[in-house]
């Protein structure tokens, strides 16, 4: 079991020993670094292939369909067939488009997505760099795609692309706030900003159990950051043509697609790291635990996508500013207070868990009250309009 647990580390050490036998030290370090980077990029592409297939299967099963089943046994080569199709398609640049910006946007969108993998702890001792400000790094790198979307929308020389980009930027900036506050809650509890440190702080209790509110807020904000249903109104595949990347085709479009799924894995990995105790938990090897948790979180996201209709733009922004931000801020104060008073242990976890559930119930109750009020107002207005139209009698 111990062998399985640090299988990958052993392979890396063995390979480094092999290189050291015939290369100078600086060359060994360079080779290992380049190999690590290549591995992360390959992992990104494998993730895209695997999760597009999984997503299509899950969505199909919800609709009582079979899903892809033509390319290879059970359709497992469907993603590869799609990739070949994308690569061989014509690459169109619109007239009067800003050519260099148009070319740069899909390249720039994929770089931060892959960079983020550097701080993700895939297993015990398996992390690209153990940054002591990894959480800040994640937030900063997560901000770059917003710029890219504006780049893509502006460079396309298409008003719909630009409007789509504005919408996306509004959405992403709004959801950045509750996301960061939820992150801050976790940092408060762990006492460190390093992802490795956060995982180690969850040895006894995963933070999803300690602060369910932060977990839910982070999950929802993550869905919004990924532009996934129910927050996918910039794409809204059944209603409008895709937002800021409307003018992109062929490989450039595939880059946006790639970045989307790499980010999906990244957000699921961050949820796992921050709230589900990362690679911890007994019996199975640590990297396997991490993978299982990530797949479960991604399944949860696909499940949500298959279930819920999407928000309207004002509802979505309202939900971020009026619901998620206050709830996460109250939760932050709560956690700060309790973490200051009580020592880590059963008592603190219990108090936080119960108070978090109470906060969640309270928030839902307030939202229900607001919704009911709004409904009553709307009904009253409707009745008044009917009265105006028909005179005093309501038919």
């Amino acid at each position: 079991m111990q062998v399985l647990d640090d299988l990958w580390i052993r392979i890396a050490v063995w390979f480094r020993g092999l290189l050291e036998s015939f290369l100078p030290p600086w060359a060994v370090q360079l080779t290992m670094d380049v190999l690590g980077i290549l591995l992360l990029i390959v992992l990104g592409i494998v993730v895209v292939l695997a999760f597009t297939y999984m997503e299509r299967k899950v969505i199909a099963r919800v609709g009582d369909r079979i899903g892809p089943n033509r390319a290879g046994p059970f359709g497992i080569f469907q993603a590869i067939a799609d990739a070949i199709k994308m690569l061989t398609k014509e690459d169109v640049t619109p007239t009067n488009a800003d050519r260099w910006l148009f070319l740069a946007a899909p390249i720039v969108v994929i770089i931060p997505a892959v960079l983020l993998y550097a701080v993700l702890p895939f297993g015990r001792g398996m992390v690209g760099v153990d940054l002591n400000i990894a959480v800040v790094f994640v937030v900063a790198m997560g901000g770059i795609p917003i710029l890219t979307m504006l780049m893509a929308g502006w460079a396309s020389n298409n008003k719909y692309a630009l409007l789509g980009a504005f919408r996306t930027v509004a959405q992403l900036i709004s959801y950045e706030v509750p996301m960061v506050v939820a992150l801050l809650t976790v940092v408060l509890l762990a006492g460190t900003m390093s992802t490795v440190g956060i995982v180690e702080a969850q040895a006894s209790f995963p933070f999803a159990l300690v602060t369910p509110v932060a977990f839910v807020v982070y999950m929802l904000a993550g869905l919004a950051e990924l532009n996934r249903t129910p927050f996918d109104l910039l794409e809204a595949d059944s209603e409008i043509v895709a937002g800021y990347f409307i003018e992109y085709s062929g490989m450039k479009f595939a880059m946006f697609f790639l970045a989307e799924y790499i980010n999906l894995f990244m957000v699921a990995g961050m949820i796992t790291t921050l709230f589900l105790a990362g690679w911890q938990w007994p019996i199975l090897p640590s990297w396997l635990w991490f993978l299982i948790k990530v797949v479960v979180v991604i399944f949860l996201m696909m499940w949500i996508r298959a279930t819920f209709p999407r928000f309207r733009i004002d509802q979505m922004l309202g939900f971020a500013w009026k619901a998620l931000v206050p709830v996460s801020l109250v939760n932050l104060f709560l956690v700060a207070l309790v973490a200051k008073v009580l020592e880590p242990g059963w008592a603190r976890t219990g108090v936080l868990f119960v108070s978090n559930l109470a906060l969640l119930a309270g928030a839902i109750a307030i939202m229900a009250q607001v919704a009911r009020k709004r409904e009553e107002r709307a009904r009253a207005a409707g009745e008044a309009a009917i009265k105006r139209y028909y005179g005093s009698e309501v038919r």
Binding site: R61, V62, I66, I304, M367
Partner: protein
């Protein structure tokens, strides 16, 4: 309670995900099995009932109007057609053209051209036939790779061998 619909919706979709997989496992060798679609479609239950087209096909209902077919005499194996030309005269579109040889009872069809691209499947040719020689088959895969929609006598006989008179004729009230 507010927000109960969220949990309810998630439960419904989850039931479909594991329900279809559970049914797959329970009735394992059914995916491409012959007659698989019949085994899958129990309408009272949920589950997959997608028709996996090239592997399995729906059998059309007896009165379905597909391509024309020629029928054989079951004893001699010869075409029933006597090349009387009634179908050619009845056809409103000039779809059919035919040639025959011999006189009286020995008259046989030698060439029969049926232009599928212009046929409107009105069945007037079948009704005009006095020798039970032609009938509309249940053949519905009528697409072609080329603009070659003219079926010769051999093609029509092949379709006739595939479908035969039995159900088709009964459905239209024709007896042999």
């Amino acid at each position: 309670m507010y927000g109960k619909g969220i949990a309810k919706g998630l439960w419904v979709t989850l039931k479909h995900i594991w329900g279809t997989y559970a049914k797959d496992i329970k009735k394992f060798p059914r995916r491409y099995a012959p007659g698989g679609i019949a085994k899958r479609t129990d309408y009272d239950l949920y589950g997959l009932f997608t028709l996996q087209y090239p592997e399995e096909r729906y059998e059309m209902f007896p009165r379905f109007r597909g391509a024309l077919m020629h029928l054989r005499n079951p004893e001699t194996g010869e075409p029933n057609c006597t090349a009387c030309g009634a179908c050619e005269r009845a056809c409103p579109h000039g779809v059919i053209s035919l040639e025959g040889e011999g006189k009286g009872k020995d008259r046989k069809v030698t060439a029969y051209r049926y232009d599928l691209g212009r046929c409107i499947f009105c069945r007037l040719c079948v009704e005009s036939c006095n020798f039970n020689a032609i009938e509309l088959s249940r053949e519905y895969e009528l697409s072609r790779y080329k603009k070659d929609f003219i079926l010769e006598l051999d093609d029509l006989l092949k379709i006739g061998d595939k479908y035969g008179i039995h159900k088709t004729g009964e459905a239209w009230g024709v007896t042999e």
